[in-house]
C-alpha cells in the first residue's frame, strides 16, 4: 500500500494474473484513482481474461467487455446514453497496446475526434502478451517476440515503436500523458487529471510483462523504473496541446542496463545497443525541444 492513496480496492485480489504482473499493478491503482463512480470498459486481453472468469469477477465497479478493437466505440455509446439519462460517471476505458496501437486504433481515433468524455488508458507492455507474446505496433525495435523472433537473419522486430501519445495529442485531445507502474503517485495523479478534464483523454502506462519480457517476477517494478531512468520511457503530459516533462532525467543511465535486464533483448549486438541509445537520445532531445519551445500539438 502506498501512503496517501485510498485504501478501498476496486480491482480485487484473487484475480488470475501472473506473479509480478505489471498490468495488474496498473489496474489496481488506476481504479483507486477513478473511484466508485466509474464505469469500466475493457478490451479483450490478459486483464480481461484474468479478471472475469465466470462466475467470478475481480471488478467492484460496473464493467463491460465487448471485443478487442471496439472499447472506444462501446464507451462512446455509454457516454451518450448517460447523457440522455442525465447521469455523469467516470468512463474508464482500458486496453493493451495491441488493442490500442493496432486493432482498435480506428475506433479510438474516431471517438477522440468526436470528443466523447472518457479516459482511455493503454497498458503498454509492447506486445500481444495474451496470445503468447506476438509483435505489436508498440513493440520496441529489435525485441524478440514469437512473431518477430531473433533469428539468424532477422534480429527481432525491425521497426521503431509507433509514437501513439503524439498522434492522439494531434487529434486535439485535451489531455495526454505517459506514466509508469514504477511511479505510482504520478500515475495516480495523471489518471485523476484525465478523468477530471472534460473530453477524450489518454494515458499510456508503461508496464512490464514478466513472461513476455523474460524478467524475474520480483523485478517488474525495477525494470519499469530502469526504463524511466534510461529515458526509454519518458514521462510527460500534453495538456491543451502543450507538452511538459513530468519527470526530468538529468543523468540518464545507459539503455544497456535496461536492455540487459530482459531476455527479449539478450541477442542484441553492441551496434544494435548503440543504435537504440542514439534513438533514445534523439527522442529525448526532441521532447525537450517540444517542451522548451512550447510547441503546440494543435
Amino acid at each position: 500500500m502506498i501512503r496517501g492513496l485510498p485504501e478501498e480496492e476496486f480491482f480485487a485480489s484473487g484475480h488470475r494474473a501472473c506473479a509480478g504482473c505489471g498490468a495488474a499493478i496498473a489496474m489496481r491503482h488506476i481504479t483507486k484513482a477513478a473511484g466508485r463512480n466509474t464505469i469500466v470498459v475493457q478490451a479483450t486481453g490478459c486483464m480481461e481474461v484474468v479478471s472475469t472468469p465466470y462466475p467470478e469477477t475481480a471488478w467492484r465497479l460496473p464493467y463491460i467487455h465487448g471485443a478487442f478493437e471496439n472499447t472506444a466505440a462501446i464507451a462512446s455509446g455509454i457516454e451518450r446514453a448517460l447523457k440522455t439519462l442525465g447521469k455523469k460517471y467516470n468512463i474508464l476505458v482500458l486496453g493493451g497496446d495491441g488493442a490500442t496501437f493496432d486493432i482498435g486504433f480506428g475506433a479510438l481515433s474516431g471517438a477522440i475526434e468526436r470528443g466523447h468524455n472518457f479516459l482511455y488508458v493503454c497498458n503498454d507492455n509492447g506486445a500481444y502478451m495474451n496470445t503468447g507474446i506476438q509483435r505489436s505496433g508498440a513493440t520496441p525495435k529489435y525485441a524478440h517476440t514469437t512473431t518477430s523472433p531473433a533469428g539468424r537473419v532477422i534480429p527481432g522486430k525491425l521497426e521503431w515503436k509507433k509514437p501513439l501519445p503524439f498522434i492522439i495529442a494531434s487529434h486535439r485531445a485535451p489531455y495526454v500523458a505517459t506514466a509508469s507502474i514504477s511511479e505510482i503517485p504520478d500515475l495516480y495523479s495523471k489518471i485523476k487529471k484525465g478523468l477530471e478534464i472534460e473530453g477524450p483523454c489518454y494515458v499510456q502506462v508503461f508496464s512490464p510483462c514478466v513472461p513476455g519480457w523474460g524478467i524475474d517476477s520480483a523485478k517488474s517494478v525495477e525494470v519499469a523504473r530502469l526504463a524511466v531512468e534510461t529515458r526509454i520511457c519518458p514521462l510527460y503530459e500534453i495538456e491543451g496541446g502543450i507538452l511538459k516533462i513530468t519527470k526530468d532525467i538529468k543523468e540518464p543511465k545507459p539503455v544497456e542496463e535496461y536492455l540487459k535486464a530482459q531476455a527479449r533483448f539478450k541477442h542484441l549486438s553492441e551496434t544494435q545497443i548503440k543504435e537504440i541509445q542514439a534513438f533514445v537520445d534523439g527522442e529525448w532531445t526532441r521532447i525537450k525541444e517540444l517542451e522548451e519551445k512550447k510547441c503546440r500539438f494543435y
Binding site: 472475469t52 464493467y63 463491460i64 467487455h65 465487448g66 466505440a73 455509446g77 451518450r80
Partner: protein, 380 residues
C-alpha cells in the same frame, strides 16, 4: 391516424421515432442511408430527443449500440451489405450479452462483384448470430414491424436483439401509401424502456466475462431457449398490435395468401412476395389451385406453423434471394428440414441476386414447376 405517401426508408424512420430510442449510432451505406438521414433531420429539428453518434465504421456503430444499450437506454441503428458484414463480429456479442438492440437492414448483395442492389445475402448470412430476424414486404409492414420488434426484443422472457429486414431499393426507396400511427397509440402499446440489467455504479455487475468450457454451453442453450420463446412472443405482440392498430400480417410468423384449398404454393421473404401475390391471383383466375406463404420470421424459424400451413399441399416451391454457394438456397434448406417428415414435394429456385428483377414470368414458371414435374434452378 394520418395516411401519407412516403418513401419506405422515411416511414421506417417515422416508426423508429415513435419508439423513442435514445442513442442512434450510424455509419452511412447505400441503400440504408435514407433511414438515418431522416432520423438525423428529426433530431436536429428537435422532433426526436436522441443522440446520434457519427461513428467511423459499422463495426463501431454496432459496438456503440452495445455500449448504449448496456448503459440502460433503447437504441437503433441501420445498415446494409458490407456494413452488416463489418458488424458481424459484434452481432453475437450483443445477442450473447442479451441486449435487446434493434437494427434495420436494408438488404443488399455482398461484394464481389460489388453491387449496391438488393438480395438477401447480407442478413441471411448473419442468421445464426442470435438476432431475431423479421422480414417485411411493404412500407406499412416496415413501420408496424419496427414498433412490434422493440416490444418483442425487450420482453424479459426474450431479451434478444432484432433485425428488421427490408429489401434495399425495391422497398427502401419505394414510395407507398402508409398509415403512421399516433404517438399516444404507440406509447400505449410500447412501454418506456426498462433495462433488465445495466451498467450502474450503485449496483456494479460484470458484463461480457470469459466463460470456460464448463459454462459456455449453458449460455448458448439459454439463448436458444429464449429464441424459441420468441416464437410465442412474436405472435402475441403481433396479435396485440393487430387488435390495437387494426392491421395484421398472418400470425406474425407466417402470412398465408390463398392457401385454403391450395395444392401448390410459393414461399419467400420480402418484396418478391408482392409480385407473387399477383401471380397467384392470375393463376387462380385460370383455375389453378395455388397459394403463397410469406415468411416473416426467419429466426426464430416457425417450424410448427409451417408444417400446419403446408399439410394439404402437394408441392412447395421456395424462392431464395441468396445461395449458400456449394449447396442450395438457405431458406430452402430450412424449409426442407422442417418438412422432412411430410411427403410434399419441395423444390428451390435462386432468384433476384444483386438486384436482378424477379418478374411475374419468373414466379409463374417457379410456381408451376412441381405440377409440371420440372426441377428447381436459377431464375436468370
Amino acid at each position: 391516424m394520418p395516411e401519407i405517401v412516403v418513401e419506405a426508408s422515411r416511414a421506417m424512420a417515422l416508426g423508429v421515432k415513435l419508439c423513442k430510442p435514445k442513442v442512434i449510432p450510424m455509419y452511412p451505406i447505400t441503400p440504408q442511408t435514407h433511414i438515418v438521414e431522416a432520423l438525423a433531420e428529426m433530431i436536429n429539428n428537435g422532433e426526436l430527443q436522441a443522440e446520434m453518434i457519427h461513428v467511423e465504421s459499422e463495426h463501431s456503430a454496432c459496438s456503440a449500440l452495445l455500449g448504449a444499450q448496456a448503459a440502460g437506454v433503447r437504441t437503433f441503428s441501420a445498415t446494409s451489405s458490407q456494413g452488416l458484414a463489418l458488424m458481424y463480429e459484434i452481432l453475437p456479442i450483443i445477442s450473447g450479452n442479451r441486449m435487446p438492440c434493434v437494427m434495420a437492414v436494408a438488404n443488399r448483395a455482398l461484394s464481389a462483384p460489388i453491387s449496391i442492389w438488393n438480395d438477401h445475402s447480407d442478413a441471411v448470412s448473419a442468421r445464426d448470430q442470435g438476432w431475431i430476424q423479421l422480414w417485411v414486404e411493404s412500407t406499412q409492414e416496415a413501420i408496424d414491424t419496427t414498433i412490434q420488434l422493440y416490444k418483442i426484443c425487450e420482453d424479459h422472457s426474450v431479451l434478444l436483439p432484432g433485425m428488421l429486414c427490408l429489401d434495399g431499393f425495391t422497398l427502401s426507396h419505394v414510395y407507398e401509401r402508409a398509415i403512421v400511427p399516433e404517438q399516444e397509440q404507440v406509447d400505449a402499446f410500447l412501454p418506456e424502456y426498462k433495462p433488465y440489467i445495466k451498467l450502474d455504479p450503485e449496483k456494479p455487475i460484470t458484463m461480457g466475462p470469459i466463460a470456460f468450457p464448463n459454462s459456455f454451453m449453458e449460455f448458448k442453450k439459454m439463448q436458444h431457449e429464449a429464441m424459441l420463446q420468441a416464437l410465442k412472443v412474436i405472435k402475441n405482440v403481433h396479435d396485440e398490435f393487430a387488435k390495437q392498430f387494426g392491421r395484421a400480417y398472418g400470425d406474425g410468423l407466417l402470412e398465408l395468401y390463398r392457401m385454403e384449398d391450395a395444392e401448390y404454393a410459393l414461399m419467400g421473404m420480402g418484396t418478391l412476395v408482392g409480385t407473387a401475390r399477383v401471380v397467384v391471383d392470375k393463376l387462380r383466375e385460370e383455375g389453378q389451385k395455388v397459394g403463397l406463404i410469406k415468411l416473416r420470421s426467419l429466426r426464430p424459424f416457425p417450424k410448427g406453423e409451417l408444417i400446419n400451413a403446408t399439410k394439404n399441399l402437394q408441392g412447395l416451391t421456395v424462392i431464395d434471394r441468396h445461395i449458400s454457394l456449394g449447396y442450395e438456397g438457405p431458406l430452402f434448406s430450412d424449409v426442407r428440414s422442417a418438412l422432412f417428415e411430410s411427403d410434399i414435394r419441395i423444390n428451390n429456385f435462386i432468384a433476384g441476386l444483386g438486384g436482378r428483377d424477379i418478374t411475374q414470368k419468373h414466379l409463374r414458371k417457379a410456381l408451376l414447376s412441381l405440377k409440371e414435374r420440372r426441377e428447381g434452378g436459377w431464375l436468370l
